[in-house]
Structures are given as structure tokens and as C-alpha cells.
């Protein structure tokens, strides 16, 4: 399982009311209680009493989309430092208290929003909410913790250089999005990280970490009344703030870009793609179906069938549309031995051209719909997944009845819609191609060379 970004999960693994299991009294359904509190916090609650566990996910609309290029990485750094000390607790105390009861509390940044997550046993609920509120409302950003964290993030970025997939992905995003935040790593860059001071973090936090800029989902062995009481007790000091945010959309420049990176590898890591769509694009569902058939449907996909099953060229080949709030990307990725790089790239382009020029079959269409609509319960199997899902649904404005609407969206997609989507959103000429490989062994053709 590779990097499972929430959008991707949403994309492939969309939810649906349990169409097939209609008559059981225990048919799966999600009873969501939604409320916008006085302080502007959007609260979503799902009761699930199968286990004495509660999960809380808080999405704060303070992803890297709101940060400046100069201080790239500050959104993630702020989130990661929430648990590094508060006005009344040190980092050590926070981890000791959390871990003693076997709970977990963490926070990190994302492209669109930052996420703080709590998992706690029912019996320790009070402590959990105490810690969660303390870290979100009153982080102290101690200097030594800032330095340690910065060192570790930089070290982590350095370590990741060892991973050819990471290197390819980083170069790809940068090429597609340019200076737009989506083109950067959420962690930022070593240079930008060095420019961030404690005051910057304090300002960023006080600017963006407001209840009217956040979504909280609570899932598990808890009632709405219990939630309200806990919020009253621990989050009453979280007050509305005035927000002035104007995130930019990325600029779409249509041109071919090729990046070759030379490394001592046995495999070429290849990414081919370009800008995609944003989450609110009305063609999102036609694109979902189209992508499933092209390269999102695991073994069922055309890319898999061609490149892995028939030609044995790769263990994993996939395509996806990463649809964020303000823009998105499309990519096909695979790893194949150096010597097969040319063939692999050619096959990818062949498949893209094919799906753009010829209608998909009835069988392909119905299989795609079958899976996309039918696999829904899987994505809401656990409280953790539900909690994350709720925040995403709210953030992307999908509606609380999204679970019911989704199958209708998918089932209404026609073959013509898929063809139209392929023509509009796939490009076999103006793409970005990144190849991280032993360049000599790969012997790339001229058209795939920088």
C-alpha cells in the first residue's frame, strides 16, 4: 500500500449505501450528526458502540496551500509541533501521558488541510480530550523542540533521497505545479525551514487555528451529549477568529517537460502525467470511472493488464488523479528494470492515446461501476476511516448525504462521458515525464531524454 492520501482514498474507494445487503437488519448505514457550533466549529458525530474506543479527527484549514514560498513547510511544522509542548505540558509529558494509557495523539500537515488525530480507549476519554484541546489551543513551540523537529525533518528529507520513487514524485510535482504550493513537499525545503522562527509559528497558529476554520469528527463509543460536554469542558476557550485567506489556483501551462535523474539502481522509476482536476470539478465521477479503467483498478486496469500481466515489465503500475481543493494532478507511475524503460513509457502513451480515441466497452464500464459503488463498506470499515472520511466530506463540500449520492453519480456515467473525460483531461503530447534510473542502462530514446 503506497502513500494513501485521503483524496486518493476518496477517489477510488467511495462510499455508498450498502446496495447489496439490503435486507439484513444490521445493514451498514452511517448516521451522521452534523452541527456548526457557536464558535464556528463544524462538528460531525457518528456513534459506533462495537468497541470501547473513540477516534477524533480534527481538520484545520491550514495546509501548505496557505503558506508562502519563503516559509515553505511552516504549515506542516506548525501541525507537527502541536504535540511538542503546550503552556502547561512539555513534549515529554504529552507523550508520557498519551502513551501510558495506550492512546495516540498526532498532528501533521497536508496540501489542503492539517490534521490532528486522537485515538483513545473510552475509559480515558477525558484525558484524551484534555490533551487534544491543550495541543490544539495552547501549543508553546519551544525553541529547542523547534530545532529538534527541524533537524529531523531535514534528516528525513535527506533519507528519502534514497528512495527513487520519492525523488521521482518530488520532481514531478515541482514540474507540474511550478511555484504553487501543490508543487512543493508538504515538509518544505531545508532552506525554507531554516528561515522559520518561533514567532512565525506562533503567528501562523494564531492566524489559522480557529474553530471557524476547523472541522472535528468524533466516531466511536460516545454519544452526542458526551461530546458536547467534553467540548464544553475542554474547548470552551477556542474562540472564533476573523479569517482572511485567499489560496491561489495553480497555473496550467501546457508544455512537455522531461526530467532524467541518474542513480545507481536496477530499476527505472517512471512518472508520466500532467495537471489534473480539482475535487469540485463536475466531471470528477466520469474521470473516476475513466481512471479506474485506465490504471486505477488494480489488476483490472488496462495498464496493469498490458504492462504487468502481458509483458511482465512491472510489479506495480497505476494511474491516479489526485484531486485537491484548488487543483490536482494526473500521473501514471511504475518501476521497471532500466532496460525496459523505453518500452514501458511507450506502452503508457499507447494506453493514454487509446482511451482518448476509442470508447470503452460496456463490460469495462459496468465492471468499473460495480467495483466503485460496491466496495464502499470497505472504506468505512473502521472508526478511524470514518473519522477521516467525515472531515474530507465536509472539507470538500460533498454533503452529508454523499454516501447516498455517490452511487447515483457513478451509475449515471456513460461511455460517452468517459470518452469525453479522457479527451479533455488526458494529454499524450504535453506531459511531464520523470525517469529516475541508471540512465546509461536505461538508454532512453531521444524523445524521452532531457
Amino acid at each position: 500500500m503506497k502513500k494513501l492520501k485521503l483524496k486518493k482514498i476518496l477517489f477510488f474507494t467511495l462510499i455508498l449505501h450498502f446496495a447489496f445487503c439490503i435486507l439484513h437488519s444490521t445493514a451498514f448505514a452511517l448516521d451522521i450528526k452534523r452541527e456548526v457550533l457557536e464558535n464556528g466549529l463544524t462538528l460531525l458525530i457518528v456513534e459506533k458502540h462495537n468497541l470501547p474506543v473513540v477516534r477524533v479527527t480534527v481538520g484545520i484549514k491550514a495546509g501548505s496551500i496557505v503558506e508562502s514560498e519563503e516559509k515553505a513547510g511552516i504549515a506542516n511544522l506548525t501541525a507537527e509541533l502541536l504535540t511538542a509542548g503546550t503552556k502547561k505540558r512539555t513534549a515529554s509529558q504529552i507523550s508520557e501521558e498519551t502513551e501510558f494509557v495506550g492512546a495516540s495523539l498526532s498532528a501533521s500537515g497536508g496540501n489542503d488541510y492539517a490534521t490532528a488525530a486522537l485515538s483513545v480507549l473510552k475509559k480515558d476519554l477525558d484525558l484524551g480530550f484534555d490533551l487534544l484541546s491543550d495541543t490544539i489551543l495552547n501549543p508553546s513551540f519551544p525553541d529547542d523542540e523547534l530545532n529538534k523537529k527541524r533537524e529531523r525533518i531535514k534528516g528525513g528529507l535527506r533519507a528519502q533521497e534514497e528512495n527513487p520513487e520519492f525523488v521521482a514524485s518530488r520532481e514531478f510535482k515541482k514540474a507540474v505545479f511550478g511555484i504553487h504550493p501543490y508543487g512543493r513537499l508538504v515538509q518544505g525545503s531545508p532552506e525554507a525551514l531554516d528561515r522559520i522562527k518561533r514567532d512565525d509559528l506562533v503567528n501562523f497558529h494564531s492566524t489559522f487555528y480557529a474553530p471557524n476554520n476547523a472541522i472535528m469528527s468524533v466516531v466511536g463509543d460516545i454519544t452526542p451529549e458526551e461530546v458536547k460536554n467534553l467540548l464544553k469542558q475542554y474547548f470552551s476557550e477556542w474562540h472564533t477568529k476573523e479569517l482572511i485567506v485567499s489560496p491561489q489556483k495553480p497555473e496550467g501551462i501546457k508544455e512537455k517537460k522531461i526530467i532524467n535523474i541518474d542513480k545507481d539502481l536496477t530499476q527505472a522509476n517512471i512518472i508520466l502525467g500532467h495537471m489534473g482536476i480539482s475535487r469540485d470539478n463536475p466531471d470528477y465521477y466520469a474521470v473516476s470511472v475513466m481512471n479506474y479503467i485506465l490504471g486505477g483498478g488494480g489488476f483490472e486496469s488496462r495498464l496493469m493488464q498490458n504492462v504487468r500481466e502481458e509483458k511482465g515489465l512491472a510489479y506495480d503500475i497505476h494511474s491516479f488523479f489526485d484531486a485537491n481543493k484548488y487543483g490536482g494532478l494526473f500521473e501514471v507511475g511504475l518501476q521497471t528494470k532500466n532496460e525496459s524503460a523505453n518500452t514501458a513509457i511507450e506502452e503508457i502513451l499507447k494506453e493514454i492515446k487509446k482511451i482518448r480515441s476509442k470508447s470503452i466497452s460496456d463490460a469495462e464500464l459496468s465492471d468499473a461501476k460495480s467495483f466503485l459503488t460496491g466496495s464502499f463498506p470497505m472504506r468505512l470499515e473502521t472508526s478511524q476511516r470514518i473519522a477521516n472520511f467525515l472531515v474530507a466530506v465536509e472539507y470538500y463540500g460533498l454533503g452529508m448525504d454523499y454516501i447516498d449520492k455517490y452511487p447515483k453519480y457513478i451509475n449515471s456515467v456513460t461511455k460517452d462521458d468517459v470518452l469525453r473525460a479522457a479527451k479533455k483531461y488526458l494529454d499524450s503530447e504535453n506531459f511531464t515525464l520523470v525517469v529516475v534510473a541508471d540512465q546509461k542502462k536505461a538508454g532512453l530514446k531521444k524523445e524521452f531524454k532531457q
Binding site: 450498502f18 447489496f20 445487503c21 439484513h24 444490521t26 451498514f28 462495537n50 468497541l51 474506543v53 513534549a91 515529554s92 507523550s95 508520557e96 498519551t98 502513551e99 501510558f100 495506550g102 492512546a103 485515538s119 480507549l121 533537524e151 529531523r152 534528516g155 528525513g156 535527506r158 528519502q160 533521497e161 534514497e162 528512495n163 527513487p164 541518474d262 542513480k263 545507481d264 530499476q267 488494480g298 489488476f299 483490472e300 504487468r308 500481466e309 511482465g312 515489465l313 512491472a314 510489479y315 506495480d316 518501476q335 521497471t336 528494470k337 465492471d367 460495480s370 467495483f371 459503488t373 460496491g374 466496495s375 464502499f376 463498506p377 470497505m378 468505512l380 470499515e381 473502521t382 472508526s383
Partner: protein, 450 residues
């Protein structure tokens, strides 16, 4: 352990086990019940009904892991796992997964040193598909030579991705093959590249016929299932399969290690890495419980010793961990591993790791620390139960070791661990003479690369 070193899909989940319930209600919710049956042909079946689960799972496990292979033909078990998707007379090569995904399900498989397992996640009323498909491919795999060759290529790409181009995984591979001299645990589950290149279709088919027999298999079904109807289906489909020959495993005894072993891997990489592996017993030895607790005391989280020392205080490691799992069929290993921060020497890191080991040997751990470790193990298990897949897997793991009831014994064992036990097992097993150490030395092959 952070990396996907092997093809074991869920090793870490399984280190956190067992909660005491009454004899009948063995798992999550109030109304769960377990049915146990052995078919006349030796096939064991466990059926777990959990009305609170939104989906169901079918798992079939075979005692057909890499431990059954021979020198010169390593990688057979895992390759066979791949081939199981390649068709029978009844279902063409692409059909298996297609049928499952059309039904809105997902399917996958995994190979470990000891076992191979196949699973599908589906709506409860679709589980009959799994039963039909798995009973079919247990007996009727075609294994066409062309398909086998193509799949061999895929496995080689997988090997390149997971090992050849992943420096830390190479260290892991070296450590294993050095720590064990006689035990087949010494070769990688995916097999040596040289062996993969010379495996024949007949090798594979012979292995399949020998090990994929009902008396060598276990089925676990779980979810909101109708046990009676599914059991009837299983008896019908699987019951017809004749019992296979008795499989006599060679008695594997690893000679005693009487001195430290050290290996080095020089490869293009970013940061130095160290992996220390100590020879330890498995679950059939009473010391295994204390070893689990010891691992958590050392590295259960940010408040545990190794993180605090190496990452927080000394700031010499980017990551540092201790891990142990008692679920191998034969005595296996207790790991310490760490990645150095840029600019820090691996010698310093190694020294610091041993310092923590010596500390706990010299001075008994605190009551709070040990209680924290136990709380973490317990909480993790409770939370894991949210997934019906995890519930099924836990049952299966213990049954494959001899008896699913072992899991109760397991938790009792964890509960009973004393401070003295933790210290005692550190003194007994974490000693230099029983240790194998692997170190990654990063090199830059060509100065003008990149």
C-alpha cells in the same frame, strides 16, 4: 520495524494481542460467536460471526511458506502465490480478481516465512464466491509455462523494487542470512535473484501439489455472516477435495550462536543504518511475553527509552526502534535498528543502542514503564479489533501455530510479566554473543552522478 522488509503483510499488528473474553464471546462485540470444525479431509475451518462488522472476510492459509523451500530454489512459495491468480480451467487468468471486484470486493495474498495466505473482503452475502474460487484454485491451477515465465519477470521486478534498490532492505536480508546458518529463515521470502532466474514450472507445480492440500490448510471466515449456510457451502466445495499426503517437515534446529556476527553493505545511500538481531525464543517459550513487554519498554513510543535517548536527547538518530514478534514457528529474532542523522556516525548510534540495553540489564525497569507497555499492548489490540480482517487474522495466526485458544494464554502471559521478568530476559538474550549486526555504509558511486 518501519519497512516492508518482507512480504509479510501484517506483522506488527500481530505483536499486540489478545484480550480476555469469556470462552464463547471471543472477540469484539457482545454477540460474536465462533464455530470450529475439521472436515474429514483434514481441512480446518474457523467461522467467526460478528454482527457489528460492516463487511466480511474469507481467508485461507497454507503451511507453505519459504521455510519449506530448498537451497537453489528459494522464492518458490511466493512465486506460487502469484501464480494462484493465473487461472484454472474454469476461471481464466484474469477472472479471479475480476469476479471479486465486480462484487465490490478486494482480494490479495501474502507470503511469509512460515505461511502463505489468500483473502477476500466482501459483503457477507457474497462470501460464497470466495468459497467457490478458492476451492477451485486449491486443486486446479493450470500454471501454463508462458504465464509462469511472465510472472517470474514480475517477481524479479518486485525483488528489484523491494531489495536491490532499497539499501536498508538489503541490510535486513544480509542480517537474516548471517544470523541463521541452518534454519531456512536465512533466505528471503522473495528468493534470491539467482534462484528466481532458474526456477522451472515443474519445480513450482511439484511444490503446489505437495503443499496445497486440505490437510495443510486453514480457512477463517468472519463478519456478519450466516455461519450455517457458509459452513454448508464450505463442506460442499472443499469437502470434495481428497486429503493430500502427510507433510513431514524436517526438524529444523539452528546451531547455537557463540559469538557476534557482523556484516556490512556498501551501497549508494544517504544515511548510515544499523540493524542488530538477537536470537530469541518464540511463543512456545514462557520468556516470549517478557520479550514483548521489553520491546515496548525500549521502543513503545516517544516516551520510551530508545526514542528519548537516541532521538530526543542525544539527537544522533533519525529513527530508532526495537521490535519483537513471537509468532514465528521457530525461534526468531529481537531487533534493534536505527538510522543515523546526517553528520552522525553509526558507531555512535550503535554504542547508544547498547547503552540502553545495558541500562535495563543493570537496573530494573520502573513499575510505571512496564505498566505502560502492557497498557499499550492491550489498547492496541482492542483498537485493532475494529477491523474484521484483523480479528480473522489473529485467529488464523494462533491456529496456524497450533491452536487459536493460544491467544488467551498469550494475554494471560503478558499480564503476568513482572519487572524482574523484563530485566531477566534482557540479561539472558540481549547479549553480544547472540547478536548479528548489519551496517549500511553509504557510498556515492560516481561523483558526477546526478
Amino acid at each position: 520495524m518501519k519497512k516492508s522488509f518482507k512480504l509479510i503483510v501484517f506483522p506488527l499488528l500481530l505483536t499486540c494481542l489478545v484480550f480476555t473474553y469469556s470462552a464463547i464471546n471471543v472477540f469484539a462485540s457482545e454477540n460474536t460467536s465462533l464455530h470450529e470444525e475439521m472436515l474429514p479431509n483434514g481441512l480446518k475451518v474457523l467461522a467467526l460471526k460478528d454482527p457489528s462488522a460492516p463487511l466480511a472476510v474469507f481467508q485461507i492459509w497454507y503451511h507453505a511458506g519459504s521455510i519449506n523451500e530448498q537451497i537453489g530454489k528459494t522464492g518458490l512459495s511466493h512465486l506460487l502465490e502469484h501464480m494462484m491468480f493465473k487461472g484454472t480451467p474454469k476461471y481464466a487468468p484474469k477472472e479471479f480478481s475480476k469476479i471479486i471486484s465486480r462484487a465490490g470486493g478486494v482480494d490479495n495474498a501474502g507470503t511469509t516465512r512460515d505461511y502463505v495466505f489468500y483473502y477476500q473482503k466482501l459483503a457477507p452475502d457474497r462470501l460464497h464466491l470466495s468459497i467457490e474460487l478458492e476451492a477451485d484454485r486449491l486443486r486446479n491451477l493450470i500454471m501454463a509455462p508462458k504465464e509462469t515465465l511472465a510472472e517470474l519477470n514480475v517477481v524479479m521486478e518486485e525483488r528489484r523494487m523491494r531489495y536491490e534498490d532499497d539499501p536498508q532492505s538489503l541490510v535486513y536480508e544480509e542480517v537474516l542470512s548471517t544470523a541463521f546458518k541452518n534454519n531456512p529463515y536465512r533466505w528471503p521470502v522473495i528468493g534470491w535473484m539467482q534462484d528466481l532466474k532458474q526456477i522451472t514450472r515443474d519445480d513450482l507445480y511439484e511444490y503446489y501439489r505437495k503443499y496445497y492440500v486440505p490437510n495443510n490448510a486453514l480457512i477463517v471466515i468472519a463478519g456478519n455472516i450466516d455461519i450455517d449456510s457458509l459452513m454448508a457451502k464450505i463442506r460442499k466445495e472443499f469437502g470434495a477435495i481428497p486429503r493430500g499426503g502427510d507433510i513431514k517437515g524436517a526438524k529444523i534446529e539452528e546451531p547455537e550462536q557463540i559469538g557476534e556476527r557482523r556484516i556490512f553493505v556498501k551501497k549508494e545511500a544517504e544515511l548510515p543504518y544499523i540493524l542488530c538481531a538477537y536470537k530469541v525464543p518464540n511463543i512456545f517459550n514462557e520468556d516470549s511475553y517478557a520479550l514483548e513487554v521489553l520491546a515496548a519498554v525500549l521502543a513503545g513510543g516517544k516516551s520510551a527509552r530508545i526514542y528519548k535517548s537516541l532521538i530526543d536527547e542525544k539527537r544522533i538518530a533519525l529513527s530508532a526502534d526495537a521490535s519483537y514478534s513471537s509468532f514465528d514457528k521457530y525461534p526468531f529474532l529481537f531487533y534493534l535498528d536505527a538510522t543515523a542523522l546526517p553528520g552522525k556516525s553509526i558507531n555512535e548510534v550503535e554504542k547508544a543502542l547498547y547503552e540502553e540495553v545495558e541500562k535495563i540489564k543493570k537496573q530494573i525497569p520502573s513499575e510505571r514503564e512496564v505498566q505502560k507497555a502492557k497498557n499499550q499492548i492491550e489498547a492496541s489490540f482492542i483498537m485493532g479489533q475494529d477491523s474484521i480482517f484483523f480479528q480473522a487474522e489473529v485467529l488464523a495466526m494462533f491456529e496456524m501455530l497450533g491452536d487459536w485458544r493460544l491467544k488467551d494464554k498469550y494475554f494471560e502471559g503478558i499480564k503476568k510479566v513482572t519487572l524482574e521478568d523484563v530485566q531477566r530476559v534482557a540479561q539472558k538474550y540481549l547479549i553480544e554473543d547472540k547478536r548479528t549486526v548489519g551496517i549500511l555504509i553509504p557510498i556515492k558511486k560516481n561523483a558526477d552522478r546526478k
